[in-house]
């Protein structure tokens, strides 16, 4: 073994060690703790009324927030890349806001808009619409925090494919909608899909913003991450660990989907 090979193995060991200690070990411990006394206690805790409700609410949030951000993300990417405009840098910067700002702050700002004495509160109250401490508020918070993902993944792909294919479609008689649907979207589909996967993972696990706007009412406005926290605080460890494992498994499925997409893209 020459010195460069030694160095390579050294680096590999360092990288793997880092991942093992910081990422893998806690997860293994979590799984171990959860199933220490068999499958029954965590399973019962999750399938209790509140646990099941939390799971449903979380999935509902994903089903609403992710499509909204996908459609918005694709439109926004097209605006940024295809329609050169002086104000584009502003849109670009604004989209990064949720990355930069703490989710708790986002939750609080939603409070100021929709909460008591908030800007929109009078109108909404009149119409009988409740945003805070209910599902709409949770969805809103999740949409906010997961805005950047689809845009960030789609913009580079759009830039890379260039405009020639779209122009070719135009010369062949396709209108703007046909061009988008038949040429642009298929060309950027892996980028969009990648963004959707990341967006889903984020919405699944969102805690900070949701905990501020939801009120964390068991069986009503409690998502899975909030369920984990509440059970942990109440020393209901089987419940907390069970739900945590469930969340981790959901995230793993999402990540696996992402890896499959990556492989498909490379092919």
């Amino acid at each position: 073994m020459n010195s460069s090979a030694t160095g390579r193995w050294g680096l590999r060991f360092l990288g793997l060690g880092y991942i093992a200690v910081l990422l893998i070990a806690p997860l293994i411990l979590l799984f171990y703790k959860t199933f220490e006394e068999g499958l029954a206690p965590p399973f019962e805790a999750i399938t209790s009324g509140d646990g099941l409700h939390a799971l449903k609410l979380t999935l509902l949030t994903v089903v609403i927030a992710v499509p909204i951000n996908t459609v918005f993300g694709v439109i926004c990417s097209l605006l940024l890349v295809r329609h050169k405009w002086k104000g584009n840098w502003l849109i670009d910067a604004a989209i990064n806001l949720p990355f930069a700002i703490s989710p708790v702050v986002i939750g609080l700002s939603l409070f100021l808009l929709y909460g008591k004495n908030g800007w929109f509160e009078p109108g909404l109250a009149e119409a009988g619409i409740k945003i805070l401490f209910s599902t709409p508020g949770i969805v809103l918070a999740c949409v906010f925090v997961s805005v950047p993902f689809v845009v960030r993944e789609t913009v580079p792909v759009l830039q890379e494919i260039g405009t020639e294919q779209e122009q070719a479609a135009e010369t062949l008689g396709a209108n703007a909608w046909q061009t988008f649907w038949r040429v642009t979207l298929p060309a950027i589909r892996w980028g969009v899909a990648y963004g959707v996967v990341l967006c889903t993972a984020r919405v699944l696990g969102e805690f900070g913003a949701v905990s501020v706007v939801s009120g964390n009412i068991s069986g009503e406005t409690q998502t899975l991450p909030l369920f984990v926290e509440k059970n942990y605080e109440n020393f209901n460890l089987p419940g907390a660990f069970g739900a945590a494992v469930l969340l981790a498994l959901l995230a793993l499925v999402v990540l696996m989907a992402m890896n499959l997409l990556k492989r498909k893209e490379a092919a």
């Binding site: 122009q167 070719a168 046909q178």
Partner: protein, 345 residues
């Protein structure tokens, strides 16, 4: 369908891409827009397709003003330098794209696509993806795609620019034959004067956003309107105020009143052609193109003194040409009767 562009102007920021350009392309012709990069030739082509909006001027196709018509309604076939293949579609889907947009029946699309794939010599490749084709095959697929919708005019933007030399030559011949067969009015953009002369019946030479001259290859070569055309279309030597082609320099052994003394610097044998590099008394370097037998007859040696007699020298600034036998051409001397393309730049 004839194409005419009148007074076209277009700028990108400070850059004037087109400056009052007018061209006439007769119905059924094959015309080349020839010029160096940045001369505006691609912009002009894109403006005809509607992919670029003109600041001033208008575009007419078959007598109808299409300046305000969007690209998808102009019925132009456009071929891009880098093919612009739809990568996620098979060859079949690529070629049939325009027909699908026009809501043709499946059977009709199949018949037409098969017909076109035969025409562009790609039969049997219908189910391949563009990434599985060579550059030349991709460009032929792109051409089939453009022809599928039976466009009024065919526009090719440096169609062979990304291909290697051999494929390029084959495709040139093939394009010329195809044009004879289809007879659709075709404009193609190139920076390669040999390619333009080889393929096109009419040439429009552009430079810095303007048309310098248009006409047949012979017109441009024998009667260039200015220095730019003379030096862009073919090789050229500069002798004082006049220009002379390397094959129009005679080398003689004995001096007379029409010759200039020069020293032979280098003799390069390029097969049939012999390239003789000389330096004049005032230090001007010129080169002459001789045939092998001419060179042998002269028994030229590097370092010897020889006498040059330029024939057909041209001068473009009003001063008389250095050689009385030379056919001097005043500005804009395009022969209106012969040239099917006339420019009013």
């Amino acid at each position: 369908m004839g194409i005419s562009v009148e007074g076209a102007g277009k700028s990108f920021g400070d850059f004037q891409a087109l400056d009052d350009v007018s061209i006439e392309v007769p119905d059924g012709s094959l015309t080349a827009l020839l010029g160096p990069s940045g001369s505006g030739k691609s912009t002009l082509l894109r403006a005809i397709a509607g992919l670029e909006t003109l600041d001033t001027g208008r575009v007419t196709i078959d007598g109808a003003d299409v300046s305000k018509t969007p690209t998808q309604k102009r019925e132009v076939g456009f071929v891009f330098q880098h093919y612009a293949a739809f990568k996620h579609m098979t060859v079949y889907e690529n070629v049939g794209f325009g027909l699908k947009i026009r809501k043709w029946k499946k059977d009709a699309i199949r018949t037409r696509v098969d017909e076109l794939l035969n025409l562009v010599q790609l039969p049997g490749l219908a189910d391949r993806y563009p990434s599985q084709l060579s550059g030349g095959q991709r460009q032929r697929m792109a051409l089939a795609r453009a022809l599928a919708v039976q466009p009024q005019v065919l526009l090719l933007d440096e169609p062979f620019g990304a291909l290697d030399a051999k494929v390029r030559k084959d495709l040139r011949t093939w394009l010329r034959n195809l044009h004879e067969e289809m007879n659709v009015t075709t404009i193609f953009v190139t920076h390669d004067q040999e390619e333009a002369m080889d393929v096109a019946g009419q040439l429009v030479v552009m430079n810095q956003g303007r048309v310098e001259q248009s006409g047949s290859a012979d017109d441009l070569y024998d009667k260039p309107a200015n220095e730019f055309v003379m030096s862009f279309v073919g090789e050229v030597n500069r002798l004082g105020d006049s220009y002379v082609r390397p094959h129009d320099i005679e080398i003689v052994r004995d001096r007379d009143e029409k010759t200039e003394e020069a020293m032979v610097q280098r003799i390069v044998a390029l097969g049939f052609e012999i390239r003789v590099e000389l330096v004049l008394g005032d230090g001007t370097e010129v080169w002459a193109q001789l045939t092998r037998s001419e060179a042998q007859r002269l028994e030229l040696q590097e370092g010897q003194i020889a006498y040059l007699r330029p024939v057909h020298a041209k001068s473009f600034n009003g001063s008389p040409p250095s050689n009385p036998r030379g056919a001097s051409t005043p500005h804009g001397s395009t022969d209106g009767d012969d040239a099917e393309v006339s420019a009013a730049a």
